[in-house]
């Protein structure tokens, strides 16, 4: 008598979804990696030392995992949150008081902090093991950009609660854009960009204005940061992550002594 599990695994439906039997023997443990979309990111076999926790600290993987956590909790938060000045703060209160469990925002915020810390630790480990050296130079650069995007993701999200903490932290941060050389109103060289005595770079046309959509942090900034936070930067980060992971494989897998 075949068991229920065996019957299930021999059914047409199961076989159409999973392209291999349970990975119980060596042959199928290889096949499962090769034929499964989610697992094919991995090589089939790997040096045992290369995956020791004391070597990798698991921080790169955890950074990616936190990105997934942020995506899932972020999508759920988008159901409740409206990026307009009159509703944003009220939606925060409702998220705390009216949603079941009421820890969605906590998961998202602490996940974001954890992602920043994890990506720093990952970079730290990669440096300390000399893993940026030939042939991995380019992928290290991709990683640095990803690190920066992580910080920008966190920074753009910081504004969305629309409380005093958010508004003034972003004011302090975005004030720096005002000083961009050439393109910032108070930056050096801004006065050089004039046509027939008319300044091209003013408080209504400089780098800070482009970021905030206004001369100060207001409802336009809220909308811009929302779109950057939920769409633009995650898409950029996803593309770079795909390249990053692909290059890890192409550049020889996880680093190890020669």
């Amino acid at each position: 008598m075949p068991s229920f599990g065996e019957k299930l695994r021999n059914s047409q439906v199961y076989k159409s979804i999973f392209r291999h039997p349970l990975p119980l023997d060596r042959r199928h443990r290889v096949l499962v990696i090769l034929t499964n979309f989610f697992l094919h990111l991995h090589p089939v076999s790997i040096r045992r030392q290369g995956i020791a926790l004391s070597y990798t600290w698991c921080m790169g993987g955890l950074t990616f995992f936190f990105f997934l956590v942020e995506t899932v909790t972020g999508v759920l938060l988008m159901f409740y949150y409206r990026p307009v000045a009159e509703h944003a703060y009220g939606d925060m209160l409702a998220l705390r008081d009216a949603t079941s469990m009421g820890i969605l925002r906590e998961l998202h915020r602490w996940g974001a902090h954890a992602m920043v810390i994890a990506v720093w630790l990952h970079t730290y480990r990669v440096f300390l093991t000399g893993s940026y050296k030939k042939p991995r130079e380019f992928n290290w650069g991709v990683g640095v950009i990803l690190l920066m995007l992580t910080l920008l993701l966190s920074f753009t999200g910081y504004l969305l609660p629309w409380d005093q903490l958010a508004m003034w932290a972003v004011t302090v941060g975005s004030n720096m854009a005002r000083a961009t050389p050439l393109l910032g109103q108070e930056g050096p060289g801004a006065a050089l960009l004039t046509v027939d005595g008319i300044d091209l770079i003013t408080s209504a046309s400089d780098a800070r204005f482009a970021l905030l959509g206004a001369r100060f942090v207001g409802e336009n900034a809220l909308l811009r940061f929302y779109v950057l936070h939920c769409v633009a930067i995650p898409l950029g980060a996803a593309l770079l992550m795909a390249i990053h992971f692909w290059r890890v494989r192409k550049d020889g897998g996880i680093s190890g002594p020669l």
């Binding site: 030392q49 070597y55 995992f65 906590e106 000399g130 940026y132 640095v144 930056g187 190890g256």
Partner: protein, 446 residues
């Protein structure tokens, strides 16, 4: 002055959680004691005839000590808490000695000391004792209302966690690096090269990933339940909080605003940090040390990175988070954030010092002549010192030979900018020196 009634309420609030904190410390040390004593007791600290006091006994003593602290916390009255708390004289002493210079130079000095004496500090018992000391310091300090207020801000809690994670991983990497350096000196391969076996990703790697994900998810959920995300008053453009701080990971950059023009602090220096990080693989001519922890095989890279990461980036974040209060004034860790504490001392530029103070004249009107001392100094610093290093210092001579002049020049430019930062900070604090080169006419202040 601390209001006795509110202090009593404060003690009632924190004594429970703090008691559990000490219970955890007790348990940690009991486990350590059991492991060490069952494994022979570890190194002897004192041994005469039958009387022997070993590391294992030390952990046992610590466990008892922390257990007493826990009991004192659970009694939850000021008299009992006084047994746990950091003594007032110690707090006053620490606050009195805390200044930006002592903090920055102390931290850099401590990092250098630990680097030079790493063979001592990486020993597991030493690391364990250091961890215990720091946790005791944290627990004893949490009984201080001012310290508690800053550390327990929801966004600051992760930073405390990060400090311990950084400490742990720095220790772990140094521990392995010291072992590897010894092995390499004996002609053996590094630890990472001992096991050359390959293994299948299913199940060995996917299970590690799964367990990590489940563990971290659990941690995140507990964290989210215990600690509420901050939500302050609704945004109000008319009311500026004091202090106004950037998000914690940008506080290092905000600190730079004190010492540099905004376009340098906010645009050029972050750009240089990014450029410098991306450039590292192309600027490091040393092919050694790939895939294993080592310090001796790449001492220059190790020291420069640690100086930049722990010594500047992390150090400035900690200063910005915990030590910068209203008006961006500097406060000791137990000090009340008093809005009236003024740190706006008169600052002078190098040209003021040179023309007025040294030569007793007025500032010249011609800009370049006025700023000549600073311009010469910066030229010597950014051009002269690298050339001197390339000619005289063996390490830099070798680097120059390996890299060629364009790469060497870029590497030295980045390095000199990094080193300029603490120099400029200390000059600002100790000499009230604002800018070496001050040309506000051209928005060029350095």
């Amino acid at each position: 002055m601390v209001d006795p009634v509110s202090y009593k309420e404060f003690i009632a609030d924190i004594s429970g959680p703090l008691g559990w904190f000490f219970v955890v410390l007790t348990a940690m040390n009991l486990v350590a004691a059991a492991r060490t004593l069952l494994g022979g007791g570890g190194a002897s600290l004192f041994h005469r005839k039958v009387l022997r006091f070993s590391m294992g006994h030390l952990w046992l003593v610590l466990a008892v000590w922390f257990a007493i602290q826990a009991v004192m916390c659970f009694r939850a009255d000021p008299a009992s808490i006084a047994w746990v708390a950091m003594p007032t004289w110690a707090k006053q002493w620490i606050d009195r000695w805390m200044s930006p210079t002592w903090y920055t130079m102390g931290l850099l000095g401590a990092l250098l000391g630990m680097f030079l004496a790493r063979r001592f500090f990486v020993q597991p018992p030493v690391a364990w004792l250091t961890l215990n000391l720091s946790l005791w310091f944290l627990g004893a300090s949490l009984t201080d209302q001012n310290f508690f207020q800053i550390v327990s801000k929801p966004d600051n809690v992760p930073i405390v966690g990060m400090v311990y994670l950084l400490g742990f991983f720095t220790w772990l990497s140094a521990y392995r690096a010291v072992q590897n350096d010894d092995r390499l000196a004996r002609g053996e391969p590094p630890l990472e090269a001992v096991d050359k076996e390959k293994t299948l990703v299913w199940p060995d790697l996917v299970y590690i990933e799964l367990i990590c994900m489940v563990a971290v998810t659990a941690l995140l959920i507990v964290w989210a339940i215990v600690l509420k995300a901050p939500l302050e008053e609704p945004a109000n453009a008319a009311h500026t909080p004091n202090p106004s701080k950037a998000p914690w990971y940008f506080l290092g950059l905000q600190e730079l605003l004190v010492y540099f023009d905004p376009w340098l602090a906010g645009v050029v220096l972050p750009g240089l940090i990014l450029f410098g990080l991306i450039a590292i693989p192309y600027l490091d001519p040393n092919p050694e040390g790939v895939g294993y922890y080592t310090i001796k095989r790449r001492p220059f890279a190790y020291v420069v990175f640690q100086f930049g990461f722990l010594g500047l980036w992390i150090s400035l974040i900690l200063m910005g988070t915990f030590l910068r209060g209203p008006n961006w004034s500097f406060f000791g860790i137990y000090e009340t954030w008093d809005v009236h504490k003024s740190a706006t001392l008169q600052h002078y530029n190098l040209s003021d010092y040179f023309w007025i103070w040294m030569l007793g004249r007025e500032l010249p009107t011609a800009i370049l002549w006025r700023e000549m001392p600073g311009l010469v100094l910066m030229a010597l610093y950014f051009v002269g010192l690298p050339i001197l290093a390339a000619c005289r210092l063996p390490l830099f001579r070798q680097l120059y030979a390996q890299m060629g002049w364009p790469r060497f020049a870029i590497m030295m430019l980045l390095l000199m900018w990094m080193v300029l930062l603490p120099i400029k900070m200390v000059a600002n604090w100790q000499l009230n020196l604002q800018y070496f080169v001050a040309i506000p006419e051209w928005t060029l202040n350095l």
